[in-house]
């Protein structure tokens, strides 16, 4: 018998792995976190670096999508101005459930150094945030670690449970 053939003698003679619904669904969800391209400022450059070959987000199954309808996670990378606030809310509403938000960098977390009239003081005033990444700007490693923590968070949830939509209010 050639080496590459399936070894039918294991698993009771069948090419089968047993698992639970939760695990298989969460395995799929956590390993295909498609991100919405949301580079608003300099953090966007670090986000692009995370997606490029040196850091390679594709290994995590994280592929940037240009449409909110195809995206699972919104990585808010950069300063959110008050003029743009209504659009981030609209794009968040267009994403399909289940959806997550990563707030990347000081500006998205708290407004950062832009303590002025034109900047939203934290993106969590507009949309619910799952993960805050510190830094100005965070290194690509930070974003990678953030995505791994998000994977862990997704795996910790029961997939069979009816999804409760996250709402700020």
């Amino acid at each position: 018998m050639a080496q590459h053939k399936v070894n039918y003698t294991q698993n009771g003679g069948l090419p089968v792995a047993l698992t639970s619904i939760d695990k298989i669904v969460n395995w799929g969800r956590s390993n295909s976190i498609w991100a919405l391209t949301y580079g608003l400022a300099c953090c966007g450059i670090e986000m692009m670096a995370s997606g490029a070959s040196r850091y390679d987000f594709d290994r995590f199954g994280t592929i940037f999508r240009a449409s909110p309808r195809q995206a699972d996670v919104m990585i808010v990378a950069g300063t959110l101005t008050k003029k743009h606030a209504e659009f981030i809310k609209r794009l968040y509403d267009q994403m399909t459930e289940p959806k997550w938000v990563i707030s990347m960098g000081s500006c998205a977390n708290t407004g950062g150094m832009f303590n002025t009239y034109a900047t939203v003081q934290g993106v969590d005033r507009i949309i619910p945030v799952d993960l805050y990444l510190p830094g100005c700007a965070p290194r690509p490693e930070t974003l990678q670690y953030g995505v791994m923590l998000l994977q862990k968070k997704i795996r910790a949830n029961k997939a069979s449970r009816a999804q409760v939509a996250k709402r700020l209010m």
């Binding site: 395995w27 002025t116 005033r125 700020l168």
Partner: protein, 268 residues
């Protein structure tokens, strides 16, 4: 050795408080000291009233009456070779003089000279648009309207350019607070969720340097994370940093630090 200064609470202290400090003026020289500028000034003086003129930092500054601005700029463009309007805006002198100073910075590539045309308008007055002469004035005049509320008569699209169309207030006025008035503070909340959401979302936190390790609502101490809202006593157990759950993940190989190889050759 430098004298020791106590550094506690330096972030809370303003390092500069003299808000209305008047900077010393760069010396001015008479226009006659430069031949080219003297000729240009003669050309302007032949047709228009010149209130004041001098040379400062190798640039001529000419004060004119506000109603002449279009014609003076046309003269400078067509006859004096100042073919570029590199910058224009306004300066807020409301507190001391009750109006605005408008400046037009002109550049002549042929003469290698710069001229600044200045004029003073009172509060509430508008200016003539120079957009028909210089296309660069299109956005500059919109920005002047956006930031100071000075309208340009004859502009084809006199709307805000940087702030949203429904914004209230003019942010570059010296009376406008840096962190915004009440309208600015609640702008995004009012617009997206409505005024009734103000109580739920709450006011903006403006101290972005604030760190409180006993506040588990907004902060998490790395390695000692607790659920949100827990009262922190200081005896929290250490959470070991790991990338995967203890039992491993379905169909994914467990990452083991001991088995991993650290590549320390930078030229690999």
């Amino acid at each position: 050795m430098r004298a020791y200064k106590p550094k506690d609470n330096v972030q809370a202290k303003a390092y500069y408080t003299d808000r209305f400090y008047v900077s010393p003026q760069v010396p001015k020289s008479p226009v006659e000291s430069d031949e080219i500028f003297a000729k240009d000034l003669e050309a302007i003086k032949a047709n228009f009233t010149v209130l004041d003129a001098y040379i400062q930092v190798e640039q001529m500054v000419v004060y004119i009456n506000p109603q002449d601005n279009f014609k003076v700029l046309k003269l400078l463009r067509d006859e004096c070779e100042y073919t570029q309007l590199s910058e224009m805006s306004a300066i807020d002198w409301l507190a001391t003089r009750g109006g605005f100073e408008i400046f037009y910075q002109m550049l002549s590539m042929n003469k290698r000279k710069r001229i600044r045309i200045k004029m003073f308008i009172n509060k509430g007055e508008s200016v003539n648009s120079v957009e028909k002469l210089f296309r660069s004035a299109d956005w500059s005049e919109r920005e002047m309207f956006d930031m100071f509320g000075i309208e340009a008569n004859g502009h084809p699209f006199m709307k805000r350019i940087l702030m949203p169309y429904d914004w209230q207030g003019f942010p570059l006025l010296k009376t406008y607070p840096l962190q915004g008035d009440e309208f600015a503070a609640w702008y995004e909340v009012d617009k997206i969720y409505g005024k009734e959401a103000r109580d739920i979302i709450g006011p903006e936190l403006r101290d972005s340097a604030k760190v409180d390790r006993y506040d588990s609502e907004r902060f998490a101490r790395l390695g000692y994370e607790v659920p949100k809202g827990t009262v922190i006593t200081g005896n929290e157990p250490k959470n070991e940093e790991n990338y995967q759950e203890e039992g491993g993940v379905f169909m994914i190989k467990k990452f083991d630090k001991k088995d991993s190889v650290v590549v320390d050759d930078p030229q690999r």
